[in-house]
C-alpha cells in the first residue's frame, strides 16, 4: 500500500468529507436524527490530526495511535462503531497488505470487532456493510492484487448498501439506505482510490475544512451565529469573505463561484443576509444567539454542581450529556456535577466524556448519555475511565432528569446506579419534532414540514400545528395516569399556556412543570411520571 498510515487516513477522510452532507441527509427517521456523516468525519479527522501531530513512530506505534485516536475522537454511535471497525482492521496488522489474501483478514477483523461492540447487532446497518465487504474479500482469489481486490470490494459494497433499505423497516419506510453503512463504504472507496492511483472524490459544495461545531467552540465577541446558503451568478466567495470579515469573525465561506455556504459570527446578522441577497438567492438561513450558550458554559466552568453539602469528595458524581442551556440548568440543579453538551445532532466524543469523568472529585461516576446515539460512546468512556463508572442508559433527557431525582452524592455508585435505572424506567417520554421528510411511521402519516408527535418511542400524531400534536402527545402520556407532567420548551417553542390550562382543568391532581429547556430540534419534550 502506498504511503504511511497518514496517507491512507487522509484518503479515507477525503472520500468521507466529500459525502458528509449526503450521509447526514440519510436520516433513518423523519426527525433530524444523528449527524452520521459529520460524526464519522469528525471521528476520522481525530485520527488524521493525531497522526499529523506524531513524529518518529514505528509502524506498530503508528497503528496503535490510529486505533486509540479513533476511539478517543469517536463521535456518536456511528463514530464509536467506526472506531471498533478500525481497531479490528489494524489489530495484528504487520506490513501493508499486498493482495486480496492480505485484505480479507483485515476486513473480517473489522467486521468481527464491530459486531462484538454492539449488544444487539442489527442487520441493515453499517455492521452489515462491513461484514459484506469482508465476505466479498474472502471470496476473491487470494493472489489478486490489492487495488483490484479493493475495487471488487467497493463494487460489492454498493450492492450491500442498497440492500440495507430492505433489511431495516425504518429505512424502508423512510426510503433511504443506512447512513453509517454509506460512511463505511466511502472510507473504503477513498482507500481504494489511493491504492489504484485514482483521483480522490471532490468535496461537495457546502462542506468546509472546518465543521461548524468546531467554530462554535471558538470564543466570539459577537452575539449571533449566522449561517446561510447563497446561490447566484454573481456570488463570489472571495468578495463575500472580505465584506463579511469587516463585521464578523469565525468566518467560513465555502464553495465555488455561484454557490456558497456562509457561516459567520456577527452582531449584525441582518447586514450579512442583506449582503448575500444583494448578489443571490439565500436558503437555509440560521441565526442563533450564542451568548446564552456561552454563559452556560462559563457558569459550568466556574460552578460545577450544587454547593457541596458534606466535606470531602463525593462517593458518586454524575456526568450528563445535555442539549440546551435551560436543560443544563435543570440537570445541574438536580446535582449533575458535569454537563457535556450534546445530544441528537451533536454526539460528544468518547474523549470529552472521559475528560468530564476524570475531572470529577468523586470515587465513582454515573454517566447519563440521554440519547441512544451516545450510549456506545458512554460505554467506551466508562471502560477507559480511571474510576468506576456506571452508564445509566437513558435515551432521552427526560429519562435523564428522572434518573437524577433519586441521586445521592453520598451513596455508593452501585446503589445510585440501581436507583437511577429504576427511576429512569418509571418515566414516560414524549416529544414534538418537525418531520424532515414525508413518511409513514407506526402508521402515522407525516408530511415534510409537519410536526410528528412521539410518545414512548412511537409516533402517535402528526399535523401542521405544534399545539395540536402536543395535545395528542400529552393525552397519550397521561392516559395511564401520572402525578407530574414536565414540559421542556425547545428552540422556537410556541407558548404552551393554553395546553397547560386545559390539562390542569382535565387533571386537577396533576402537577404541571413547564421549563425553558432550549434544546434544538424538538420544540417540545414531555415527561410523565
Amino acid at each position: 500500500m502506498p504511503g504511511g498510515a497518514l496517507t491512507v487516513v487522509e484518503a479515507a477522510l477525503a472520500a468521507l468529507e466529500a459525502s458528509r452532507r449526503r450521509i447526514d441527509d440519510l436520516n433513518v427517521y423523519p426527525v433530524p436524527d444523528g449527524d452520521t456523516g459529520t460524526n464519522m468525519t469528525m471521528t476520522v479527522r481525530a485520527v488524521r490530526d493525531a497522526l499529523a501531530g506524531a513524529t518518529e513512530l514505528d509502524a506498530e506505534a503508528e497503528l496503535a495511535l490510529v486505533a486509540r485516536s479513533c476511539l478517543m475522537g469517536a463521535r456518536g454511535n456511528s463514530g464509536v462503531i467506526l472506531s471498533q471497525l478500525v481497531r479490528g482492521a489494524v489489530e495484528g496488522l504487520n506490513g501493508g497488505p499486498e493482495t486480496a489474501g492480505d485484505l480479507a483478514p483485515r476486513l473480517r477483523g473489522a467486521s468481527d470487532a464491530g459486531y462484538a461492540a454492539v449488544r444487539e447487532p442489527q442487520e441493515g446497518t453499517m455492521l452489515t456493510v462491513a461484514r459484506e465487504l469482508a465476505e466479498r474479500a474472502e471470496a476473491l482469489d487470494p493472489a489478486l492484487p490489492l487495488g483490484d481486490a479493493l475495487a471488487e470490494v467497493v463494487a460489492h459494497g454498493e450492492v450491500a448498501l442498497a440492500r440495507t433499505q430492505e433489511q431495516l423497516d425504518v429505512l424502508r419506510d423512510a426510503g433511504v439506505v443506512d447512513a453509517g453503512g454509506a460512511g463505511v463504504l466511502e472510507l473504503v472507496r477513498g482507500i481504494a482510490a489511493l491504492v489504484r492511483g485514482e483521483p480522490l472524490p471532490e468535496p461537495e459544495v457546502g462542506t468546509g475544512p472546518l465543521p461548524e461545531e468546531a467554530v462554535h467552540r471558538e470564543l466570539s465577541r459577537y452575539r449571533y451565529c449566522t449561517s446561510f446558503f447563497v446561490e447566484g451568478e454573481e456570488v463570489a466567495p472571495d468578495a463575500l469573505e472580505r465584506e463579511l470579515g469587516a463585521f464578523g469573525d469565525s468566518l467560513l465561506v465555502v464553495g465555488a463561484r455561484g454557490a456558497v455556504k456562509v457561516h459567520v459570527h456577527t452582531d449584525e446578522p441582518g447586514r450579512a443576509i442583506a449582503l448575500a441577497t444583494s448578489v443571490g438567492v439565500i436558503e437555509e438561513v440560521s441565526i442563533e444567539n450564542m451568548h446564552v450558550q456561552t454563559a452556560v458554559r462559563e457558569e459550568r466552568i466556574t460552578h460545577s454542581g450544587p454547593p457541596p453539602s458534606t466535606a470531602g469528595p463525593a462517593a458518586t458524581a454524575v456526568v450528563a450529556v445535555v442539549a440546551g442551556a435551560g436543560n443544563a440548568r435543570l440537570f445541574r440543579d438536580l446535582g449533575a456535577a458535569a454537563i457535556v453538551e450534546g445530544g441528537q445532532t451533536m454526539n460528544p466524543p468518547t474523549s470529552q466524556l472521559l475528560q468530564a469523568i476524570d475531572g470529577l472529585d468523586a470515587a465513582g461516576a454515573v454517566l447519563l448519555p440521554n440519547n441512544k446515539n451516545v450510549i456506545l460512546a458512554a460505554e467506551q468512556a466508562a471502560a477507559e475511565a480511571g474510576k468506576p463508572v456506571e452508564v445509566v442508559e437513558t435515551t432521552s433527557m427526560q429519562a435523564g432528569l428522572a434518573a437524577l431525582v433519586p441521586f445521592d452524592a453520598a451513596a455508593a455508585l452501585d446503589e445510585n446506579a440501581r436507583e437511577m435505572r429504576e427511576a429512569a424506567t418509571a418515566v414516560r417520554s414524549g416529544a414534538v419534532a418537525p418531520a424532515s421528510r414525508a413518511a409513514t411511521i407506526d402508521g402515522i402519516e407525516v408530511a415534510e414540514g409537519e410536526f410528528l408527535g412521539l410518545a414512548d418511542g412511537a409516533a402517535v400524531a402528526a399535523g401542521a400545528s405544534v399545539e395540536e400534536v402536543a395535545r395528542a402527545v400529552a393525552a397519550h402520556l397521561l392516559e395511564p395516569g401520572a402525578d407530574v407532567l414536565t414540559i421542556l420548551l425547545g428552540d422556537g417553542a410556541p407558548s404552551v399556556n393554553g395546553l397547560r390550562d386545559e390539562l390542569a382543568e382535565a387533571h386537577p391532581a396533576l402537577e404541571i412543570d413547564v421549563h425553558e429547556g432550549g434544546q434544538p430540534h424538538y420544540p417540545l419534550l414531555f415527561a410523565a411520571e
Binding site: P307, P308, D333, P406, D408, D483, V484, A509, E511, H515
Partner: protein, 287 residues
C-alpha cells in the same frame, strides 16, 4: 424518689405545637418561643396562632424569624410551678434551637436540682409523643432513672419524617443541615427528610407532591408494626386536606395504632418548614 403526675410538672416549649398543654394534662405547661415579622414580635401559639400565621405569611413580604425563649421566660414559668416538687422540661432538639439551653441556664440559676432539662432530639408532635410517654409513667408512678431510660429509647427509636414543599424555608432559617445537597428546586422535586440525632437529615427526593406523600406512607409502613403500642402523630403547615388523606391512609395501614397527635405546625416550626410541610412522627411504647 418517686415521681407522679401530682408531684411533677412537665414543661413543653411552643414548638411542640400544642397550644394548650394543660388541657391535655393538668400538670403540663407551655413556654413560648418568639416569631418576628418585621418590627412586630409575637409569642408563638400565644399571641399568634397557626391559622393567622399562615395568613400573615401569605400577605406579608417580610420573612418571619424565630427566636428562643429567654432564660427569664423559663424562670418565670418555673416560679409559677412552685406547687410541684419536680419539673421536667421536654424540649425541642438542641441542634435546632437554643431553647433547651435557655431552660438549662434558668434551671442552674435556681441553685437546686428541681428542674430536669430533657433534649428530646425531636420536634413538634415528636416532642408531644415523648412527653406522653413520660406522662404515662408519671400517672402510675415512676423514677427519674426510668424517665431517662424512656428518653434515651425515644431518642434511639422514634422516627420523624417530613416533606417540605420547598427547601427554601429550611435554608433561609439555617436549619437545612445535610439536606442542602438535595437541591432540585427547579423541577418540583420534593425532599423526604428525617430528624436524626436532633438534626435534619436528607432521606431521598421524589418527583411531585403525591409521590412525596406516598413515600412518607411507604416508610411508615416499612418502619412500623400495627398495635396499640404504636404511637403516631401527624402535623401540617397549611395543608389540611392532604393531612386528612394521610391520616386516612395511616388508619388503614395501622388500624390499631394510637393516633395521639394531629395539629397544624405553629408559627415557629412553620417559619422553618414553610407552607406545605407535612410531618409524620411515631414511637413504639409498650407502657
Amino acid at each position: 424518689m418517686r415521681l407522679s403526675s401530682e408531684t411533677t410538672a412537665v414543661v413543653l416549649d411552643s414548638t411542640a405545637d400544642l397550644p394548650e398543654p394543660a388541657a391535655r394534662h393538668p400538670n403540663w405547661r407551655l413556654v413560648p418561643l418568639y416569631v418576628r415579622f418585621g418590627d412586630e414580635t409575637y409569642r408563638d401559639h400565644v399571641d399568634l396562632g397557626a391559622v393567622e400565621f399562615y395568613e400573615k405569611l401569605r400577605a406579608s413580604d417580610a420573612q418571619p424569624q424565630s427566636s428562643q425563649p429567654t432564660p427569664a421566660d423559663f424562670e418565670a414559668a418555673f416560679a409559677e410551678l412552685e406547687g410541684f416538687e419536680r419539673i421536667l422540661c421536654v424540649l425541642i432538639s438542641g441542634k435546632l434551637s437554643g431553647t433547651a439551653e435557655s431552660a438549662r441556664l434558668a434551671a442552674q440559676a435556681r441553685g437546686d436540682d428541681r428542674v430536669t432539662v430533657i433534649d428530646s432530639e425531636s420536634v413538634s408532635g415528636g416532642v408531644v409523643i415523648l412527653a406522653d410517654a413520660i406522662q404515662r409513667r408519671l400517672d402510675r408512678g415512676t423514677t427519674l432513672e426510668e424517665t431517662e431510660e424512656v428518653v434515651a429509647r425515644f431518642q434511639r427509636e422514634s422516627t420523624i419524617l417530613f416533606t417540605v414543599d420547598t427547601l427554601d424555608y429550611l435554608v433561609r432559617g439555617g436549619r437545612v443541615g445535610k439536606a442542602a445537597g438535595l437541591a432540585g428546586q427547579l423541577l418540583s422535586v420534593k425532599p423526604i427528610l428525617a430528624i436524626d440525632e436532633g438534626e435534619v437529615e436528607p432521606l431521598k427526593r421524589v418527583r411531585g407532591r403525591q409521590k412525596a406523600l406516598g413515600e412518607l406512607l411507604r416508610l411508615f409502613e416499612e418502619g412500623t408494626e400495627d398495635g396499640p403500642a404504636l404511637h403516631v402523630g401527624v402535623a401540617h403547615a397549611d395543608a389540611e386536606a392532604e393531612l386528612e388523606t394521610l391520616v386516612g391512609r395511616i388508619r388503614e395501614l395501622r388500624p390499631q395504632a394510637s393516633l395521639d397527635f394531629q395539629a397544624q405546625l405553629g408559627p415557629v416550626i412553620g417559619t422553618h418548614g414553610g407552607p406545605g410541610t407535612i410531618g409524620l412522627f411515631w414511637f413504639r411504647d409498650e407502657e
